[in-house]
């Protein structure tokens, strides 16, 4: 009886109770039909919020219109654990990921990403070869840069009637500017801010951090405001904390503050002094069955036009020379984007380039030190 096959059970007369085979068949059907592996769809994983929305408008939708390949957007909060799990089990459902550059390098070294090829880097609109058009150090062996974004600090004007903060030193000045500060719960960027505020020149920041005394110095500087720091983890938190009055100033990603300024009319001011510049990266998960489509997507996103279009939705600027020339206005409000871009020369008077190489060497060490410091 048990060995009764699907064919037999179909032959049973109507009215007889159907046994398990149809159910099993159904399950099989579900499993078989489940993965939408056809070339018509790609899963792109990004940081959510206003940034992911901007990417959708700037190059996901135009890419779909152009190629017929649909984009499924997923959110994540950074880190490599999920990518590693997918590559190691061979069950890959992400295709393209938006990564921090240090993570992109790490993931590349760990064999979690596909190497980029010449075709992934399209020439500029006037035919300039990509190698000359991309700004130096904006792509890696496995990833293509798409935007400059910056960690700055911003304050709520309502909290300051007399003088307003203007430099990174002011962020650490509790006497002139009392009140709580927001900072991201990571050693990254915070150690750099601390050293810059302590008088270390830009070009010496990472050299100083490479010495034990330099690290001590950075933590000692952070000690001076430790009791007044509110820690944040997601990019959407700082504008919220500033608006709620939870903090009077906070470090933040410049694009998130820009959105609060122009779309919500929040009385926030960005302090560009001491900004830490980063390059957002796109990379392809190693072993994806949709490699060809993923490469097409990468090449599309890496076009100067795509980068410039992104800069019309959020204040993150292109990493290509030809793209910088295309910066215009915010598409929803018509605000001129130039003053809000991290790479605009007036905003670059004291700007530190995040040294991903230093961080990929020291991230574990600094994280432990930071955790120990936090717990004390």
């Amino acid at each position: 009886m048990r060995r009764e096959s699907g064919a037999r059970s179909r032959a049973t007369p109507l009215g007889a109770a159907p046994r398990t085979p149809p159910v099993i068949l159904l399950i099989f059907l579900l499993i078989w039909s489940q993965p939408p592996t056809s070339a018509e769809s790609l899963t792109v994983v990004s940081w959510g919020g206003s940034y992911a929305r901007a990417c959708t408008k700037a190059y996901h939708e135009p890419f779909t219109a152009n190629s017929g390949i649909k984009i499924r957007l997923e959110d994540y909060n950074g880190g490599l654990a999920q990518i590693r799990a997918q590559v190691e089990t061979g069950n890959i459902h992400w295709d393209v990921v938006d990564l921090e550059i240090a993570d992109a390098v790490l993931a590349c070294d760990e064999g979690l990403l596909e190497f980029i090829e010449a075709g992934d880097l399209p020439p500029g609109p006037d035919g300039t070869p990509a190698a000359q058009d991309f700004l130096p150090d904006t792509f890696t062996e496995c990833s293509v840069g798409t935007t400059f974004y910056s960690t700055i600090f911003a304050y709520n004007r309502e909290n300051f009637s007399g003088g307003e903060p203007a430099t990174i030193e002011d962020f650490f000045d509790m006497k002139r500017f009392p009140g709580r500060r927001g900072m991201r719960r990571t050693p990254q960027v915070n150690l750099e801010f601390a050293l810059m505020a302590d008088g270390v020149p830009l070009d010496q920041v990472y050299a100083t951090l490479s010495t034990a005394e330099g690290v001590d110095r950075a933590f000692r500087k952070l000690d001076t405001i430790k009791e007044h720091i509110v820690w944040w983890t997601a990019g959407a938190q700082p504008p919220q904390m500033l608006a709620d009055g939870e903090v009077v100033m906070s470090t933040a990603y410049n694009g998130r503050i820009f959105n609060a300024q122009v779309l919500e009319n929040q009385p926030f001011t960005v302090v560009w002094d001491g900004q830490v510049l980063d390059k957002g990266q796109l990379a392809i998960i190693y072993g994806t069955p949709r490699l060809k489509a993923a490469r097409r997507f990468l090449a599309f996103a890496a076009k100067s036009e795509s980068m410039a279009r992104l800069g019309r939705y959020i204040s993150y600027s292109p990493v290509r020379r030809s793209g910088s020339a295309l910066i215009t206005t915010h598409i929803e409000t018509g605000v001129d984007m130039k003053p809000h871009m991290p790479t605009t020369p007036e905003n670059m008077t004291r700007a530190l380039h995040n040294d991903w190489e230093w961080w990929s060497d020291h991230v574990d060490e600094m994280n432990e030190r930071f955790s120990a410091w936090m717990a004390r």
């Binding site: 060497d361 574990d364 432990e368 410091w373 936090m374 717990a375």
Partner: protein, 399 residues
């Protein structure tokens, strides 16, 4: 006769097999894998066998001889071919921070070089770090297949320059203080749960029958509510601009600028975890109290004992199996708790499990995560042994 008895026994065991298989697959196997991972790491040994073999004869002080360099160059390039280099380098970098960029940069340059008379000079030319003994010591240490370095790391210890075991510098000690804190917090949560749960269980066990179900429901509804919902409700209540602070300000008990920080610190962790774990105390207590006949207390009263005396001499000893069961349950759940401290612990309310999660998800240092888990497991085991010695496990009653 003997044979048939065996068959009967075997047949009786058959229905249990799925359970045995289930436990094997979902509990024993992962646990064993984890413990193995904490001491065994064959990756570097497998990628650089010859270099490590040659290094085993090295004195540990001078610059190694040419053959070592030659083997290292060949095996590093081979690891790159196998897409393994990153993982090898990550491990070496953990022992000697800074080695990642030294090796990666050198390998990138080596790919463009076809040959060399002296790989020793070539490499030291590329980066002076190759001429330092500590670089090769790091490679040698990472190459150990069986290693105690994760456990040393988890115990805030390190190998000194001479190879002896030394304590980490004070500003780098993190895991032991955190473990101590975790144990202390779990203990206070257990005490709080007992303090709060005992009267509740007493009330439920001795309330008129028609009230019992309603009161039990009041304990069970939070128990059935999602952990996340309960934790975030505490955020709403306790935050600086939350319900409690607003009420205190409105009543004039505290000034607007002196709002109390009750969340994103240890207070938040203790409050939220006590609430989440309370049912695990109340239910065993209740099930024990229910079975205590009121006759004993009545008898004590008729013999002239006051209520406190009767309670302490007659009632309390009878509830001990429930007290022990509830305490053990709450304590063991508390030391492994992760999500609540993550959400409401802020800077000072993090526990050891948050560090384990960090090494699992962010740093991908699974060896260290496994060693930390192993130590936590050992703690639970020791507590269980102490409990068994002092109380006797057969006295425990879970319901």
């Amino acid at each position: 006769m003997d044979g048939t008895l065996k068959t009967v026994r075997l047949r009786a065991a058959v229905p249990v097999l799925p359970l045995v298989a289930f436990i094997l697959v979902t509990f024993i196997a992962p646990l064993a894998t984890m413990l193995v991972r904490s001491v065994y790491d064959p990756l570097v040994a497998g990628a650089m066998p010859e270099t490590l073999f040659l290094l085993s004869e090295w004195d540990g002080k001078s610059i190694p001889r040419e053959a070592v360099f030659e083997a290292a160059v060949r095996e590093l390039l081979g690891a790159r071919q196998a897409r393994n280099l990153g993982r090898v380098v990550t491990r070496i970098n953990r022992v000697q921070p800074g080695m990642r960029s030294v090796i990666m940069k050198s390998v990138r340059k080596l790919r463009r070089i076809s040959g060399s008379d002296s790989w020793r000079d070539t490499l030291i030319d590329m980066d002076p770090a190759w001429g330092k003994a500590q670089t090769w010591q790091a490679i040698r240490r990472t190459g150990e297949r069986f290693t105690m370095r994760h456990y040393l790391h988890a115990l805030d210890l390190d190998r000194g320059p001479g190879g002896g075991i030394v304590r980490q510098k004070p500003e780098r000690r993190i895991y032991m203080p955190l473990l101590g804190r975790t144990l202390a917090v779990s203990l206070s949560i257990t005490a709080l749960c007992l303090l709060l749960g005992y009267p509740v269980a007493y009330l439920i066990a001795h309330a008129p029958h028609r009230w019992t179900n309603l009161l039990l429901l009041l304990v069970l509804v939070p128990f059935w509510t999602s952990l996340l919902v309960r934790t975030t409700s505490w955020i709403v209540l306790l935050q600086t601009r939350g319900v409690i602070n607003d009420a205190l300000v409105a009543l004039g008990l505290i000034a607007e600028e002196n709002r109390i920080a009750m969340i994103y610190n240890m207070t938040g962790t203790v409050v939220a975890m006590t609430h989440v774990l309370l049912p695990f105390m109340v239910l065993p207590l209740y099930s024990v109290m229910r079975t205590i006949p009121p006759l004993y207390m009545n008898a004590a009263a008729t013999l002239g004992a006051s209520f406190p005396r009767a309670f302490w001499r007659v009632y309390w000893p009878q509830t001990q199996p429930g007290v022990f069961a509830g305490s053990l349950l709450v304590f063991i759940l508390a030391i492994g708790y992760y999500i609540t401290p993550e959400l409401v612990g802020g800077r000072s309310g993090q526990l050891i499990s948050n560090m384990i999660a960090y090494h699992m998800q962010q740093s991908l240092n699974w060896g260290l995560a496994a060693a930390l888990s192993g130590i936590l497991l050992l703690c639970v085991f020791v507590i269980y042994l102490i409990y068994d010695r002092v109380v006797g496990i057969e006295r425990m009653k879970l319901g």
